[in-house]
């Protein structure tokens, strides 16, 4: 028996198995899609994440039903916490919602494909190399995609800069306009406290080929996480100058900021 079969037998109940099969994804005859997503691995990941989501981070979600149940969607969120835990939690929140769940994809940093085991694992859970061509083709497939427009500027930020949004790239807005995708702003509160970093050791990061190397305790703290989902935003595909695209991006950034504020207000304690 392979490790995957063993884990599936131990962790995945029959109900969960059927539940995920019912959500349905555009996959090939062996359960894979072109980006490496695998239905069977996802079931194991889903079962493990449920434990982490419910018991470790005790996630509270507000407004998850605002994410459309079908059609191309870009879920735009703030990025924090050194590791892509925020993406995992948003993904699980959407996949586990009662009313018409969806399995979203997440755009991941460009260095992940070069990391053995982890790169493949993220792909199998729905993570996709953060390339505009990938995003465009998935939107054309009608997928919901989690995007962190801050990129490594967000995930690598230090504890002292917590909940300060870094510059948003314009790429997601161009894709949303081109593919008529609904933009849903999301604020994640709590992930900043999971791996608080006090410094970035740049020479070590350069040496290892990593985008950053945080000076932090080698543990993931059980901070309580709040996810606040904002109202969907739709943008037309008019031929507008880049300046106006930036204005639209700023609108989304402000909406994400609002959601963070809402989450911070809801939060009663850090852990």
């Amino acid at each position: 028996m392979s490790l995957a079969e063993f884990l599936k037998r131990r962790l995945v109940s029959k109900e969960l198995d059927e539940e995920i099969d019912q959500i349905g994804k555009p996959i090939g005859s062996l359960g894979y899609d072109p980006w490496g997503y695998n239905n069977e691995t996802l079931k194991i990941g889903y079962a493990v994440t449920r434990e982490i989501y419910e018991k470790y981070f005790r996630v509270e979600v507000d407004g998850i039903d605002k994410i459309p149940a079908e059609g191309p969607v870009l879920i735009i969120a703030n990025h924090s916490g050194q590791l892509p835990i925020d993406g995992l939690l948003i993904g699980f929140a959407l996949a586990s919602r009662e009313n018409r769940p969806r399995i979203p994809r997440a755009m991941i940093e460009r260095f992940f494909p070069t990391v053995p085991y982890l790169g493949n694992l993220l792909n199998q859970f729905g993570g996709v190399l953060g390339d505009p061509v990938n995003c465009a083709k998935m939107l054309a497939n009608g997928e919901a995609i989690i995007v962190f427009p801050e990129g490594v500027r967000g995930s690598g930020k230090l504890y002292r800069d917590r909940y300060q949004l870094k510059r948003f790239g314009n790429g997601f807005m161009h894709l949303a306009m081109e593919h008529n995708a609904t933009v849903v702003p999301v604020g994640v509160v709590g992930c900043e406290e999971t791996i608080p970093a006090i410094a970035n050791i740049k020479p070590l990061a350069r040496m290892l080929g990593l985008p950053y190397f945080p000076l932090a305790a080698p543990v993931i703290l059980p901070a309580k996480v709040h996810i606040c989902v904002g109202d969907p935003m739709v943008f037309d595909n008019d031929d507008i100058p880049e300046e106006q695209v930036t204005t639209r991006v700023e609108l989304v950034k402000a909406a994400v900021g609002e959601m963070i504020k809402k989450g911070l207000n809801q939060r009663k304690r850090l852990f």
């Binding site: 062996l30 072109p34 695998n38 494909p113 790169g119 390339d131």
Partner: protein, 315 residues
Amino acid sequence: MTTEKRPQILVTGAAGTLAQQVINQLRDTCDLVAVDFREQVWLGDDIPSYCIDFNKRVFEDLFRRFHFDGVIHLGRIMSSQETRLSRYNANVLGTQKLLDLSHKYNVQRVIILSTFHVYGAVPYNPAMIDEAAPLKAAGLTMDLVDSVELENLANIYLWRYPHLNITILRPCNIVGPGVRNAMSTLLSSERAPVLAGFSPMMQFIHIDDMADALVLAYRRNHKGIYNVAPSDWVAYQKALDLCGCKRVPILSIPPIVPRTLLRLLNLRRFPPYLMDFFKYPVIIDGRAFAREFGFQPKRSLDEIFHYYLENKHPV
């Protein structure tokens, strides 16, 4: 009473299984001439077969004698064979000679078989690469330069001599009975090397489907460049499992370790210059070909892998 003239077609690479499949599909409706630079193959009394180096002058005699209407160029030395120089001479200069003669003798249809390797395996490749994507292979390894050069050459002839109606096909991994390329040898072996922690997505096309694609491409005249791949995908290590291959992991980082090891071992089925294809996915989008030519592969991945599972060391 007049009878319609049967098209006269030159098929290169006749000793290969793919060419023989194509010949079998076309022999009832076309007059065929088969050539190969490796060996002379007997294909029946109705098909003249020659062993000729394209760069020799006698090659032109074939064009003089047979007045070809079309050329299906499948005769390439695979990247795992011969030296770089002889591959360059045969694949690039030989193809140039073939295209020059096709132009000189008014050939009206040319099909050229390329490979998805021309895109190159880089970690930043998006999936579903379409035909307009840059060909990065030449920048990554000298061993694939001839594949990229062959394409560049075919492209130049495509726009310079539109009457040649050149169609270039870039298929994914061609596998199945009789196929002797690196991937097919790997799937048919008992043990196969894998780079620890890497299991890139791959695409496979059955040789019968590829032969169908070539015949379709010849019959429907749409010139241009097309990827040929089914809309089905599988991770490399899963494919090995399904073929009953035991996986032999090779330390994958730092990259110098597997590269040195593979150079030392020099395995034909896992050549060092293809190492990155076993590390990073190169997933191509075959939908344009399917749409333009009405192509639908008939053999599933299950069927392909089942063949390898049942036939260890088939070739």
